[in-house]
Amino acid sequence: MGAKKWIAMLLAGGQGSRLGELTIGLAKPAVPFGGKYRIIDFPLSNCTHSGIDTVGVLTQYQPLILNDYVGNGKAWDLDLDVGGVSVLPPYQGKEGGEWYKGTANAVYQNIQYIDNYDPEHVLILSGDHIYKMDYSKMLDYHIEKNAEATIAVIQVPWQEASRFGIMNTNDDDKVTQFDEKPKYPKSNLASMGVYLFNWKTLRRYLINDEKDENSSNDFGSNIIPKMLEDRKKLYAYRFNDYWKDVGTVESLWQAHMDLLEDTPNFQLNDQQWKIFARNANHPPQYISPDAEVSQSLINEGCMIHGNIEHSVLSYNVQVGYGSTIKDSVIMPNVTIGKNVHIERSIIASNCVIEDGAVVGNSAVTSDITLIGENQTIINPNKKKITLN
């Protein structure tokens, strides 16, 4: 097998517990986003556009939906004979096997997979972020700097810097120090969770890290600090476009609302950088004579008879007469009856909201209401019907 220039390893095993009920039955990268996509579509589509043809998707928590969704990679043009996409759950070998203990351990357990392709560079990605990024520019930068590792960074507001892994750099953007969630940040360059390594170097560090019993086997907390300690050449690659962590209900909702600006900072409808997704066969959406729609994103398969205001509706959502949906995110296959009011909410897939029900709180200070998958919400004022 010929050597590959580079391959990507996508860490998709996390639960995303801060997304609450959204991740009961599926891993965070499989959470629906933007009316059509799942979060993992963003890094996978970035790989396709960046010319990466080999992607290992490391799964662990609730992998079924993710495995099925990624499939043979056809949607991302990654259905190749050599390379393409491979779903990599933990496995048993001759020496036994174990769960992925941390991000670095997950890659460590797949050294054999990576060695198969004998790549010069390995790109480590996570399945938690919404962004469009040409990783090939990062690779050019990495080579130009003659770096051992390059970490993509984005400038965050100073007041938020202590929520992130912060890179302190010199004038040349060479990384001098890595601070995980610093109380008093010295820089506002946050790590995006996108790392590019020379494979030979990373391989050695993974093996040594595995021997270290005190290590939590994590890229951010262990591998990167150890490389800095060893005075390896690590560079920060500045990314200046839209990038959003959607790890909480609030941030997931906010990222959807960002899409609804008349000129949004993040454009889904981008002919130069399409986001690829599966499940794309539904009839066009129907907007009835009784409907009103403004400032919204609506996907195919929807049938709208009510008012949609500043909301994102995924495929096959039915909205009945007299209902209003405002500042909300409706995930696939949700049926909304007549005279329903939904505001500042996220409704997960396959829910049924019955006639007259009210969901959400209009106060801007209130939390976003989340209705988990497969639930039925009834109108509490409805007279109970007894069958006999």
Partner: protein
């Protein structure tokens, strides 16, 4: 399981859709917001577990090849079976009839493992359950089953439809060519079930005696020799034979019950996937009674219309009673009414295009 070969016969297409077929065959004409006419036939075949489909185009077939590709959207990119496009092989000769083109690809038929063949044109918009037709064919021990539909729609002026006479035993007793059908007349849908061995024999014998038309020389000429049964298709299917009827049958999809009967209650209709984003409605958009595909950007007013994938309606633009095909752009303040714009048409700022008695058609990629 029975092994069935699907033949999509585009050789007898008629040019009723004028400008819409200037550069493409009828089967590739866009329909219903995101489909091509051929998608309905393709999806009906796939629903009947047909795993090998051959398309016989006569001319202007670049768009059908581009649209069908490897057939992967219809799950036809398989090791056994799959999708074949079998065009005329003598570019300097005009095609004398479908049987001639079948004959030119005779080895394809001979090699196919199928015992039964479905032949259908590529332009019917319907959900025809071929499993039912196959069962009917078997139950009646027919040699050939002809699918027909009772005519519904306005009175047409030109004789364009072939009609069949059917007796009380469902036997086809006669076929009349180029007639003006009255409501209730049995219009032949040029859709047939026939065994492969009989088809191969008929192809050989017809061509040997200089006869080249399947319906005339293989079916009608043999009505007394073979058991030829008529299958009455009673489902929804618009008769499309003019720009007006094309426009009206598209508009008929602005009705939830029609949408459900074509796309909800039965098998899926597959088409080429474009990976378009969901459609964006801006704060200034006003949309009512419309069917809208993905990838659109709507800032203006859209009423009683069908927008295909990737259409842009800019601020202050008005689209009414119109069909805007893929990637059309209606710029600021422009008005489009009772019009069909083909793919990639641009109506520039403040211009208006208004169809009066019948819909205006704007040709592909034209700039108004």
């Amino acid at each position: 399981m029975e092994n069935v070969l699907g033949i999509i016969n585009l050789i007898n297409e008629r040019q009723h859709l004028k400008d819409l077929t200037a550069h493409r065959n009828v089967a590739s004409v866009p329909f219903g917001g995101r489909y091509r006419l051929i998608d309905f036939t393709m999806s009906n075949l796939i629903n009947a577990d047909v795993s090998k489909v051959a398309v016989f185009p006569k001319e202007k077939y670049l768009s059908v090849m581009d649209h069908l590709g490897s057939g992967k959207e219809w799950n036809l990119d398989r090791r056994s079976g799959g999708l074949y496009i079998l065009p005329p092989i003598h570019p300097d000769e005009t095609v004398t009839g479908d049987m001639k083109q079948f004959y030119d690809h005779l080895s394809f038929f001979e090699r196919a493992e199928a015992d039964t063949v479905i032949i259908s044109p590529g332009s019917h918009v319907c959900k025809l359950d071929f499993n039912e037709v196959l069962d009917y064919h078997k139950k009646h021990k027919a040699d050939i089953t002809v699918v027909y539909k009772d005519y519904v729609g306005e009175l047409i002026e030109k004789p364009i439809y072939h009609t069949c006479s059917v007796d009380s035993d469902d036997d086809i007793t006669d076929i009349s060519f180029y007639t003006i059908p009255r409501p209730g007349d049995h219009v032949c849908l040029e859709t047939f079930i026939i065994s492969k061995s009989l088809l191969v024999n008929l192809i050989k014998s017809c061509v040997a005696s200089g006869e080249y038309d399947f319906l005339k020389d293989a079916v009608k000429a043999n009505l007394h020799r073979f058991t030829v049964k008529g299958y009455n298709f009673t489902g929804d299917m618009p008769f499309i034979h003019s720009i007006e009827s094309f426009h009206a049958s598209n508009m008929n999809f602005l009705n939830p019950s029609v949408i459900r009967s074509f796309f909800g209650d039965t098998w899926d209709v597959y088409t080429k996937i474009k990976h378009e984003a969901p459609t964006k409605y801006s704060s200034s958009s006003k949309v009512t009674n419309s069917l809208i595909a993905n990838g659109c950007d709507i800032e203006g007013i859209v009423e009683n219309s069908i927008l295909f994938r990737g259409v842009k309606v800019k601020k202050g633009a008005i689209v009414r009673n119109s069909i805007i095909m893929q990637k059309g752009v209606i710029e600021e303040g422009a008005i489009v009414e009772n019009t069909i714009t083909d793919k990639e048409v641009r109506v520039t700022s403040e211009k208006s295009v208004i169809g009066l008695k019948q819909p205006t058609v704007i040709k592909k990629a034209e700039v108004i």
